[in-house]
């Protein structure tokens, strides 16, 4: 007595394969997902209280990064400018621009501007801007061509693996001191040699760069 019709074979085999496929595919998806921009938040622009354009300020006007991000050479944090920094210029120019109303309100009411964070590291990561710029890592290495961004966005994945790429082999990303804030910097042809030389000149001890305690404590 046949219990199953002939097409049951196909169903059974297909079901078997589908189960295996779903398991493997699901697993694969879980593995791949953290690498994607959904998780790393790469290239996502966030709505900000003020449509501040780095393209205009850094690219067009050529204002130095440190004009606003003042503590980048002293502190872990590069620093977000206080309202008064905006007003040094905007008390003179564009004084009535609607776009800048929140800035004026902030100054008038003493109420800080609440920016949405774009570059975000977990709380247990202790990244220090100052030591990076002191040792030849330029702004654009991690932040990309900010001077061409209408809206700021995160260009690097900022994952631990990405950090490690450079901590394992910093040579390709090191620049001479005077080029740190050069947003248009691109690696010269002899970057490998130059990087090795900079490692030596900056007294970078590469052996400890992948210590867990470098970033976590």
């Amino acid at each position: 007595m046949q219990i199953f019709p002939p097409y049951a074979d196909t169903i059974a085999r297909a079901a078997l394969l589908a189960t295996a496929g779903a398991l493997l595919g699901g697993l694969g998806l879980l593995i791949v997902l953290p690498f994607t921009a959904h998780v790393t938040r790469q290239d996502i622009t966030v709505e900000q209280p003020i449509q501040f354009s780095h393209e205009h300020h850094a690219g067009g006007l050529g204002i130095d990064c440190r004009y606003c991000h003042t503590s980048v050479e002293q502190s872990r944090f590069a620093g977000i400018p206080p309202t008064e920094t905006c007003m040094t210029c905007h008390s003179q120019i564009w004084t009535n621009a609607a776009m800048l109303a929140p800035v004026r309100r902030s100054l008038a009411e003493g109420d800080p501007i609440r920016w949405q964070r774009v570059h975000r590291l977990p709380d247990y990561v202790y990244f220090d801007h100052s030591v990076h710029v002191a040792k030849g890592v330029g702004c654009s290495t991690c932040h990309g061509a900010v001077q061409r961004m209408q809206q700021i966005r995160q260009v690097a994945p900022l994952t631990m693996g990405w950090c490690l790429d450079c901590h394992r082999d910093p040579a390709p990303n090191l620049r001479p001191k005077e080029e740190i804030y050069d947003m248009d910097w691109s690696a010269p042809a002899n970057q490998r040699q130059q990087g090795q030389k900079l490692i030596h000149d900056y007294l970078i001890r590469t052996e400890g760069l992948t210590d867990c305690s470098r970033c976590h404590r």
Binding site: I3, F4, I31, M160, W162
Partner: protein
């Protein structure tokens, strides 16, 4: 009738009657009140387990009795205990197959199921005991954005590898053996639904000689792999302790001692399960006193092995002259847990000596009682290995006590209930004895005769 198969099958057995003995309780008999009583009790116990696990996830392992110095407690002891129980099934099935022990046939199926259930329950504990169980997958190697790998030197990674391998292997080994029996059930099923379900599960097995041939090769090959695997698994569990620096743990005898202990407790549990299955499913014809006699001998051998292991531990502590090891052994006999240790020695070393007497081995209730006692003994052994060392470490200022909480007990009790529940389900859903092995045994007997 020759000796090898004597007393294993009824005198008047036929192929059909054997199949009926096994399959009829499943297909033709309704579960009795006793069954549902047990089922309800076990279900309630399982609920206790679920509740205690849920509370554990909500509140954290702070609900247990573990503390700063005694960082491991019931969870690890339960893990080792359940895994020890989970050792016998695959081992029985494989080792007895390879050594052609005729008494394998009636018990291997539920022994394997016991392995699966106990092993799965055991596998829960290392995850439950984590401070952050939702990060358990970090023990597996997989490409990740952190560029990190598991730390291969840790015995816990070996555990993770060995246990998952063992569970997967045991599941497949059991499944391969089960397929022909599912076909038997399919063919005896009277309702369409059962035919469909068992039919689908049997994958269209039709007993073809080619299939049997391949089945035989695969099954025997897997059996041959099972032996080193089984040994490796509990050796690795032993190394959880042996690959450490703590007095009472750092002992080279631990891997074999753990394997012996695991087989000891595993066989003990098979005895218990066999007795219950035999009564519950009316398998008196195929699970006979001869089986209990044979298993009792193995249990006895296990007890003797434990004598050797314990004796070696004590002797080495004295002979090494290491004050820490000596202090540890003294602590075993005089510390706060000495009564439990003495009970453990009684359960594992003294009680099984009863089985030297053939008359005792033939009395099923005696064998069952002894094996139940040794389950207690083996659980005590595991918990005492942990707490006696951790409460009495190298620095006397770190000596502390370990007191389990209600949640510790609830989880242990709950998993026992869950084990019973799983077995009750198994007994009603799948053939409890490998019918094709019984048929083969009968064929062998007839050929001999």
């Amino acid at each position: 009738m020759s000796g090898a198969t004597e007393g294993l099958l009824p005198e008047d057995a036929s192929y059909g009657s054997l199949v009926g003995t096994v399959a009829d309780p499943l297909l033709r008999r309704k579960a009795g009140r006793l069954y549902w009583g047990f089922f309800a009790a076990a279900g309630l116990g399982t609920l206790v387990m679920v509740v205690s696990i849920a509370w554990l996830f909500i509140e954290g392992i702070g609900i247990w009795g573990v503390n700063t110095n005694v960082v491991w407690g019931f969870a690890i002891a339960n893990f080792v205990w359940w895994l020890g129980i989970g050792h016998a099934g695959t081992f029985i099935s494989a080792a007895l197959l390879l050594t052609r022990q005729p008494w394998r046939a009636a018990i291997n199926r539920f022994a394997e199921v016991m392995t699966l259930f106990a092993g799965s329950i055991a596998g829960l504990f290392p995850i439950l005991h984590l401070g952050r169980p939702y990060r358990a997958y970090w023990l597996l190697p997989y490409p990740n954005t952190m560029d990190l790998w598991p730390q291969w030197r840790s015995a816990l990674v070996w555990d993770c590898a060995a246990i998952s391998t063992y569970l997967i292997f045991s599941l497949l080994f059991w499944w391969i053996g089960l397929i022909p029996d599912l076909a038997t059930i399919r063919d005896r099923a009277q309702t369409r639904a059962r035919q469909m379900i068992y039919g689908a599960l049997a994958l269209g097995w039709r007993g073809s000689a080619r299939h049997w041939h391949l089945h035989d090769v695969l099954y025997r090959t897997m059996a041959a792999m099972a032996l080193p695997l089984v040994v490796s698994v509990h050796s690795v569990v032993g190394m959880d302790f042996a690959a450490s620096l703590m007095p009472g743990w750092q002992e080279t005898i631990f891997p074999p001692y753990f394997v012996a202990g695991a087989l000891f407790s595993g066989f003990g549990m098979v005895v218990v399960v066999a007795a219950i299955m035999r009564r519950g499913l009316g398998l008196e014809d195929v699970v006979t006193p001869r089986h209990f006699d044979a298993m009792a001998k193995i249990v006895l051998a296990g007890s003797v092995a434990l004598w050797l292991a314990y004796g070696t531990e004590w002797f080495n502590a004295w002979y090494s002259g290491d004050p820490l090891e000596r202090a540890h052994v003294a602590h075993l006999f005089t510390g706060p847990y000495a009564p439990a240790y003495l009970l453990q020695l009684f359960c594992n070393l003294v009680a099984p000596q009863l089985l030297w007497f053939p008359s005792m081995r033939r009395r099923i209730w005696v064998v069952v009682t002894v094996t139940l006692v040794l389950q207690l003994g083996m659980w005590l052994e595991r918990i005492l290995i942990i707490v006696n060392t951790l409460t009495h470490g190298q620095l006397p200022t770190t000596w502390a006590l370990y007191v389990p909480t209600i949640w510790d007990w609830m989880l242990l009790g709950g998993t026992i209930a869950f084990f019973v529940l799983l077995f009750l389900c198994f007994a009603r859903l799948l053939p409890a004895v490998a019918m094709h092995d019984l048929g083969k045994l009968l064929h062998e007997r007839r050929t001999e005769g």
